[in-house]
């Protein structure tokens, strides 16, 4: 897929260098344009910097240099809590719900960024999408199973009606059946017009639902292209080892 085929970008990353310490970049110059409505998988070996890239976009890891735009808005350096308000939702890999708060409180917390008149309606919409949660509103979220936690984390992120949603390994620790359910949900969300970026270790399952893919290796993009066929591409293993440079974005 050429860049020209991508509709107006939902998220644009240019020359992004980011990391936890000043002199130690983990993301080492990433260029990435994600079209509105795209469903993108970010793949790569353990330690490639996938989570760091996602966190840098979400405002949780400091950006050393580079540009970051959400739609037409420059978001580099914006604090995470303001990014949420501008329509970027992030679901971290672990500890992505508040275990000591009830399900209802988890959702209310996020609804508080919305105008007061819309809060109730958005929370009810979340319960309509995830009836399991609606049935257990007043229980502490810490009592939920792994799959339900992921649902709550997803529902929480969706509450603000984001334009872009980034999820870091939502399949981690789930049974294959639950992974299927989670990915189905993401597909539904994407079909409603939300741009979804899925960071995954679970390559095959991820490529089965996403439309495009990016392979990250040692903080750099080594491949960007359609998802179809990539799982069976013999060069994928090489890409993971960083020995093969695929098509650039």
């Amino acid at each position: 897929m050429s860049a020209a085929a991508v509709p107006s970008p939902a998220l644009a990353v240019a020359g992004l260098v980011a990391g936890y310490e000043r002199d130690l970049p983990i993301v080492k110059g990433v260029d990435l344009v994600v079209g509105a409505g795209e469903f993108l998988a970010i793949l790569g070996p353990n330690g490639a910097g996938k989570s760091t890239l996602a966190k840098a976009i979400a405002g949780l890891v400091s950006i050393h240099s580079g540009e970051l735009a959400l739609g037409t808005r420059d978001i580099a350096g914006l604090p995470a809590h303001e990014l949420v308000r501008s329509g970027l939702a992030f679901v971290p890999q672990t500890e992505n719900i508040f275990a000591t708060l009830t399900i209802q409180e988890n959702l209310q917390l996020c609804a508080d960024v919305l105008p007061a008149a819309r809060r109730g309606e958005r929370i009810e919409a979340a319960y309509a999408m995830f009836p399991d949660l609606g049935a257990r509103r007043t229980i502490a979220a810490g009592a939920l199973s792994g799959g339900q936690r992921q649902m709550l984390a997803t529902a929480r992120a969706l509450l603000v009606e984001p334009s872009v949603m980034i999820l870091d390994e939502p399949s981690a620790g789930l049974s294959p059946k639950l992974v299927g359910e989670v990915f189905e949900t993401l597909l539904r969300i994407n079909e409603q017009g939300v741009t979804v970026i899925l960071v995954e270790q679970n390559v095959r399952a991820a490529l089965a639902v996403t439309r495009s893919a990016l392979v990250l290796c040692d903080g750099r993009v080594v491949h960007r292209g359609p998802a179809a066929g990539l799982a069976d591409d013999p060069r994928l293993g090489e890409m993971f080892l960083g020995r093969y440079e695929g098509q650039a974005a």
């Binding site: 992030f90 000591t100 508080d112 603000v160």
Partner: protein, 300 residues
């Protein structure tokens, strides 16, 4: 334990508990033990004293109480000022350490330094001579069974109940309360969820400072006002906060009451000089027997 010791213990315990709420909230949000918290108590008392002496009106005892109508108003203003002082201290001192990701021990030592500086400032301005809100003597109300309490004491207990219920409702029923609990559990996720952590931190400092001022005014009415009044309460405050379980508001107030009762018991049975030892004994016992406190969750 005599009925009188119970009343004295309850009143002292309410005061300790109000101070301990600030300690427990600061700890649960910022994860360090703030040794300067006692100074908010002393500054709160002196703020109220300064207002009362400067205005010099409304001093005639109000009904059965030992003070006039100005003092409750001064206490409210003092609470706001002490809350502001706490925010200012955070802005000038702790926030820069947080931004640098400094170790907890650095924050703790810095708070110790701030405590000394704030206390020295009080001594400089007001001298170390004890002062009083009032010198009126009060006639205790008898409740039967040997139980007696002065109208001031009854008012303090009632005020404590109101404040604790208000803080509890704030934490459990309001948006800012939810945000405080969320930041306490997971500050990074809170940011992702749209919580302005800076605002939560300021709120926690303000509440802690304001409640400390309330405790300070009570201590000033019950005993006297001196620059060391807050510092001397530090051990009981921490004993109460740890006994109650870090992060728990009901725990802090209950812990305060237990510490207050133990102190009163020690004073009555062994001697007044053993008051401080009682708080230390409670603290040691909790750390050995139940380090997470009464209401606390075991922390990682």
């Amino acid at each position: 334990m005599s009925p009188q010791a119970i009343v004295d213990g309850l009143v002292a315990g309410s005061m300790i508990g109000l101070g301990a709420i600030g300690v427990t909230l600061t700890y649960s949000i910022l994860r360090f033990a703030n040794f300067a918290h006692g100074e908010f108590i002393a500054w709160g008392a002196y703020f109220a004293l300064a207002l009362v002496s400067v205005l010099g009106i409304g001093m005639e005892p109000l009904g059965p109480f030992s003070f006039g109508w100005l003092l409750p108003l001064a206490a409210i203003v003092a609470a706001v000022l002490a809350g502001g002082l706490a925010i200012l201290l955070d802005r000038l001192l702790f926030s820069s350490f947080r931004a640098r990701g400094s170790a907890t021990i650095i924050m703790v030592i810095a708070s110790f330094g701030a405590s000394m500086a704030l206390r020295a400032l009080l001594e400089f301005v007001f001298t170390s001579k004890p002062v009083y809100f009032t010198r009126e003597l009060q006639i205790a109300v008898r409740f039967g069974g040997g139980l007696r309490a002065t109208p001031d004491q009854i008012l303090m207990l009632a005020t404590t109940v109101v404040l604790v219920v208000a803080i509890h409702l704030l934490l459990t029923r309001t948006a800012i309360g939810r945000q405080m609990r969320a930041v306490s559990e997971n500050p990074v996720l809170a940011r992702v969820a749209g919580v302005d952590v800076g605002k939560v931190v300021r709120t926690v400092w303000f509440l802690g400072g304001a409640l400390a001022a309330a405790a300070g005014v009570m201590a000033g009415l019950l005993v006297q006002i001196r620059p060391y009044m807050g510092f001397d309460l530090l051990l009981p405050l921490f004993a109460a906060a740890i006994l109650g379980g870090i992060g728990s508001v009901p725990g802090a107030i209950l812990g305060g009451i237990v510490v207050g009762l133990c102190e009163a018991l020690a004073v009555q049975t062994i001697g007044a000089e053993w008051r401080a030892a009682a708080a230390f004994a409670v603290l040691t016992a909790v750390l050995v027997l139940r380090p997470q406190g009464l209401f606390g969750k075991a922390r990682r």
